[in-house]
């Protein structure tokens, strides 16, 4: 059985998690270890349920208030981007 990686993201509302295209978002890595909760910026596809995105990892969603969305989303990361995009090196 494939084990799925788990991530966390915070949104103001679910419209930020558009399901019909690649989106860019910040996710925290929930997998155990020293770097748990380390943030990454990714380009990914998300879906409101796992069956819409077979083989995807799990994306836990919380709102800005910290309240959780009741059901996890699914996420397939296509690219990792620079987390902090500044013109100052």
């Amino acid at each position: 059985m494939t084990s799925h990686r788990e991530y966390l993201t915070f949104v103001k509302n679910l419209e930020e998690l558009a399901e019909d295209r690649l989106i860019e978002l910040m996710i925290a890595d929930l997998n155990p270890g020293l770097h748990k909760y380390c943030y990454k910026r990714v380009r990914a596809r998300v879906a409101s349920s796992a069956d819409k995105l077979p083989g995807a990892d799990i994306l836990w969603v919380r709102y800005y208030s910290g309240n959780p969305h009741p059901q996890p989303y699914a996420i397939k990361v296509e690219d990792y981007l620079l987390l902090v995009q500044s013109k100052h090196p």
């Binding site: 020293l34 943030y39 800005y64 910290g66 987390l83």
Partner: protein, 474 residues
């Protein structure tokens, strides 16, 4: 004699029984937060975590270091059993002067120096405090050191900081604090990174000084010297032109980027609610220096019913500001449960019809964003007795002319009642409850409050007290 560092302070807490040493392995992921919160809610001791999961021996954490009046007293070398008023009076006495720091060439904070690619903020056991927080918080009991580029002014502040990755943290800094104002006015405006040092685990006097609201251009490091009654030893940073306490446990050196804001939070703030996500500046770390066996000082924030450790400093600042402007303050208090958002001021009755409004304006000019609710009462009200205070609110505050709301007004961005848009702008409202008897009402027309303590002739009162048990009372 002042505490040279946090380690001497822990030894003092050991002697008075104000710290618990936990030697079994504890998980930084929620377990540290749960233990800290429970101890705080029980008004219990500080917690020293000596063994932390995933981390090598010697990497330790001190939680709730300054979070009760007993520990405030110990931090200043006072008897832990004295009251809050005595602590405030002693602090007020000490801060009347300033003691300049001493610059030293080296210090224990440089026992380990990590630069460049070796920098990894995850080398320290930053806790995930609460279920639902936005991330791990390395900065909850820290000092942020910033310099005004156009003068000699060095500002110390205390801002929460959330880990993003190995080299970046979000910093909750904005226009409601001096550091944020320097950042926006002097660095963002010129699109220049702002050098900043983060100090973790300094001596108690330095942590306290960072939390004081003192006027711009005043020196927190000199204030720390006054609080300690000895100068602070400071040492030059490795990669930036700033000076930091030489005996601190951990120093992070870097710069706040002028062109990046990332989502930071949620985090349980001093009102015991999750403070919602906000766009905040990003601190990029270039160097870490630390002591051997470093101690991370942390506090989970928002312990219900526990006065934030900033409160004595803030009360003193406000009282001084009022007295310096001729307001006849009789009492001033902020109840623990209101986390600094409600201030109650008792004044002597004067001929000035605007004394409540004057107090309102002075406080907001000095404090920038908190408190948001001020209640002004006459001198016959004990501001520390909540039954009396609530009674006064109901009995003496005219709903029509006694409540004055100002909106929009600058407001600390952590207030739970702010909308998302208000939070981004640090713009909320504040309210004044004027519970004083109107000055135009003649004294003979003011209703008499009837209390045993002041409504009977002395001889009747004394007689009743003397015979109380003989009447059959226990």
């Amino acid at each position: 004699m002042a505490f040279r560092d946090i380690r001497q302070y822990i030894e003092a807490l050991d002697k008075t029984g104000d710290v618990v040493h936990i030697r079994q392995e504890i998980n930084w992921d929620l377990e540290v937060g749960a233990i800290s919160r429970r101890s705080g809610e029980m008004h219990g001791p500080a917690v020293f975590f000596e063994k932390i999961k995933d981390y090598p021996p010697g990497y330790r954490m001190l939680s709730l270091p300054f979070d009760t009046p007993r520990r405030w007293a110990i931090a200043f070398g006072l008897d832990p059993n004295i009251g809050v008023t005595e602590i405030q009076n002693e602090i007020q006495r000490r801060i009347g002067s300033r003691i300049k720091p001493i610059v030293v060439k080296d210090g224990p904070c440089k026992e380990n120096i990590i630069l460049g690619n070796e920098v990894d903020l995850f080398r320290f056991p930053s806790p995930m405090f609460s279920y639902g927080d936005g991330g791990r918080y390395l900065g909850t009991q820290s000092i942020e050191v910033i310099k005004d580029p156009d003068s000699d002014w060095v500002n110390w502040g205390a801002y929460r900081m959330m880990l993003y990755d190995e080299k970046h943290m979000g910093v909750n800094m904005g226009i409601w604090n001096q550091g944020g104002t320097i950042f926006v006015d002097k660095f963002v405006s010129k699109d220049q990174p702002m050098p900043m040092a983060v100090v973790i685990g300094a001596d108690p006097g330095s942590h306290w000084a960072a939390q004081f609201r003192i006027p711009a251009k005043d020196s927190e490091v000199e204030l720390a010297g006054s609080l300690r009654q000895e100068p602070v030893e400071i040492v030059k940073c490795e990669t930036i032109d700033l000076l930091v306490p030489a005996h601190a446990e951990i120093i992070l050196e870097g710069e706040v980027l002028p062109d990046v804001m990332l989502r930071e939070g949620p985090f349980c703030e001093n009102h015991s609610h999750e403070c919602a996500v906000r766009l905040n500046p990003v601190f990029r770390v270039k160097s870490i220096t630390h002591r051997n066996n470093p101690i991370l000082t942390v506090t989970p924030g928002g312990i219900f019913g526990l006065n934030p450790s900033t409160m004595p400093a803030e009360i003193i600042t406000m009282k001084r500001a009022l007295e310096e402007r001729g307001i006849p303050v009789v009492g001033i208090h902020s109840p623990d449960e209101t986390f600094g958002m409600l201030l109650i001021v008792a004044v002597k009755r004067t001929g000035d019809v605007n004394v409540a409004s004057q107090i309102d304006h002075i406080i907001h000019a000095v404090m920038r964003g908190r408190p948001t609710m001020i209640m002004v009462v006459d001198e016959d009200v004990n501001v520390s007795d909540m039954r009396e205070v609530l009674h006064t609110l109901a009995a003496r505050c005219h709903p029509g002319r006694g409540i004055r709301v100002r909106a929009p007004e600058m407001c600390i961005n952590t207030a739970p009642w702010l909308s998302h848009e208000e939070r981004e702008l640090s713009r909320g409202a504040n309210v004044l409850f004027d519970c004083t008897w109107p000055i135009e009402r003649p004294k003979e027309e003011i209703p008499r409050r009837i209390l045993f303590r002041d409504s009977f002739p002395d001889e009747i009162r004394d007689k009743v007290l003397k015979n109380w048990k003989s009447y059959g009372f226990k």
